[in-house]
Amino acid sequence: MNDEAKKQLANIDSREEPLKPKDRIAIPTQEMPTQDPIERGKDFTEVATGYTAEQAQLESIRCLQCKTAPCIAGCPVGINIPGFLKAASEGNFEKSVQIIKESSLLPAICGRVCPQETQCQEPCTVGKALKDVEQAVSIGRVERYVADLERDNGIVTPAVKSKTGKKVAVIGSGPAGLVVAADVRREGHDVTILEAFHKPGGVMVYGIPEFRLPKAIVQTEIDTLIAMGVELKTDFVVGRTRKLKDLIEKDGYDAVFVATGAGLPRFMNIEGENLVGVFSANEYLTRANLMKAYDRENADTPIIQSRKVAVLGGGNVAMDSARTALRLGAEEVHIVYRRTEKEMPARVEEVHHAQEEGIVFHLLENAKSILGDDQGLVTGMECLRYELGAPDESGRRRPVVIEGSEFIMDVDTVIVAIGNDSNPLIKQTTPEIECNKWGNIIVDDTGKTSMDCVYAGGDIVLGAATVILAMGEGRRAAASINALLA
């Protein structure tokens, strides 16, 4: 792939007249280099290995520099996309990443996990011209390349203004929390991150697996924060170790940012769901990722040795669970989803990768009950078939059960990946904070909650959403906190 990219770049360089839009569109999309599908199913190393410099440059040249820049409108944090692509197309990758960083603090992460095909790449003119969103400019891949290059060269610790004497507590160390810590610390305020787990990073370390987002990338972000003087207290559950109110009243924090995420797994509420061998995706992934159970010989935390696994759901969480099960040695892994592939909320790339790796997709099917033996072990799953009916309020066609379509799927493990609700701990222990009926914290348009000096953002406000939205919310709240403390 790279030789081809080199050749094309040389051709472009040797041209007399500048490239016309139709020449740019004619450049083929640069494919993402990936590991072999069969080989990669055996370990947890990253699947997509990343563009080369030539690929990144060539892909950037495909951008038409549209005046209207519909891509920017599609980006939740409004990154100057044509700007950073222009710099990259000129081979100025350093400038390119700095342009991204004006709006996004976590480009190496977002380049990997953002659902670009429904955000910036969806409205891209190039993709529209070619009538295929997969042929749009691969904005995310270029973003990842320039961010990785910066990291390889050593990230320069951002400057911190002189000490203000003000203190801010950030609860939770997922993307929302990390971004607030960075933005608030830069203004010279003392920042302490309080994290319940023994390691920082939130879903990015306990949920999203290594083969999709290497832990080292998240760790770099945390190392940078520490270098900026942010204090990190792990093993600290706000609400239990300390009440949120006490952080302000007893410990003297001037502001608090709540970013506790959507950590409350939903179950199906079907018979057999508490059998041995039924897991929430959160439990399965946490055992595998955070607790390193994939290292069966050395890890202290065990994980089940499965033969045949069914994963319920069609989002990123489901894809991650299925592909993790495969890597842990399952012979067969099935994804069971009650709508069709088109409705799957997962990133398209993850669905492709899962299919390549041999995950079996059962569409328009769903679990009815889980069957077990007298030892309480899963022996199978009773399923129902569905067909698509009229659209529901989300605009997606509602799946309708086909009566009498029951059949049994032979599995010994079931992973439930049908979504998360908000973690209720803060709500239960802080009556002053107002929540909606789903338990999400209510904030105004500055990110402030109903409690003075307390802000919130990320999944605890939005419900299970995305890294980039969590980051966007974090930046908004950080700006409000900085204004409050100025």
Binding site: F236, R242, L264, F267, E273, T286, D300
Partner: protein, 284 residues
């Protein structure tokens, strides 16, 4: 942080640690627990807080060496640090003046019972304590419980101390009294709690049990600790650990607890060899 101040071996495989943990000591209430890891990637072990001293900033943990991690913890010395200690977790015991409260502690379950019995006493209840163990050597905290109890009943399986019977026998007798107890609290092995609940059920004596399921995060995020209570799925780490014993599906809970049993048995054996613990001294 989390430095060990004092260690005591209470019986063959039961150990007591006093740990420096000021924040937890300040906030903890009866019925709550902690989760610890002995190293960065260590297994997460939930242990009920047996006692605490907010002035000294210490908490007391009492545990039985059963798996790889608890065996290693048993080998910790004064001055060693526990890598990670999270808490206090769970909903505290609801303590008020009920009248006559019967506290039933089986084996190591006497440890978490201690602060609850103490709290009940301070709240003005008449407290009867039933303590059970396989034999005299395995009985822990007897002196501490004696100072709290209005009545203390000791039972052992082999009759080496107190009455030779199961804890359910004196519990049944108490339920038959008029007036019957106002509340029973049972903490111990799941099978014991199940039979305590069965014992009190016909007498309609409200019975609390404290569940110790497998846990990971302890904050309600993973659902690994879930149990069925009155037909509804509950998370022990946030909704519990205490539940109405008459509503808990103990059979399902015991099956779930056994999920990694084989691995635990292997570990137990391996640990005794690796750590040089006398295998013959262990009856567990």
């Amino acid at each position: 942080m989390n430095r060990i101040i004092e260690t005591t071996q209470l019986s063959d495989d039961v150990f007591k640690l006093i740990v420096d943990a000021p924040l937890i000591a300040e906030e903890r209430k009866p019925g709550q627990f902690i989760i610890l890891q002995i190293h960065d990637d260590g297994e997460r072990i939930p242990l009920t807080i047996a006692d605490g001293n907010s002035k000294k900033g210490t908490i007391t943990l009492i545990f039985q060496a059963v798996g790889r991690s608890t065996h290693m913890l048993a080998n910790f010395k004064v001055g060693d640090e526990i890598a990670h200690l999270l808490g206090p977790l769970g909903t505290p015991t609801h303590i008020e003046k009920f009248g006559h409260v019967v506290c039933v502690g089986g084996g190591i379950g006497v440890a978490p019972m201690h602060p609850i019995a103490q709290g009940m006493k301070v709240a003005g209840n008449k407290v009867t304590i039933i303590m059970g163990a396989r034999n005299k050597e395995l009985m822990v905290l007897e002196d501490e419980m004696r100072t709290i109890a209005d009545d203390l009943i000791i039972c052992t399986d082999d009759g080496s101390h107190g009455r030779k019977c199961l804890v359910t026998e004196p519990l049944k007798e108490l339920c038959e009294n008029d007036p019957k107890p106002d509340l029973a609290v049972a903490i111990g092995p799941p099978i014991m709690m199940k039979f305590c609940a069965e014992t009190t059920r016909p007498y309609e004596v409200h019975t609390l049990v404290s569940l110790n399921t497998i846990m990971i995060d302890g904050t309600g995020m993973c659902g690994g600790c879930r149990v069925s209570v009155g037909g509804k799925t509950k998370f022990v780490c946030v909704d519990g650990p205490e539940f109405d014993g008459h509503k808990v599906d103990f059979d399902n809970m015991m099956l779930r607890l056994g999920a990694y049993k084989k691995r635990e048995a292997d570990d137990h054996h391996k640990c005794h060899i690796e750590l040089g613990i006398d295998w013959t001294a262990d009856k567990g």
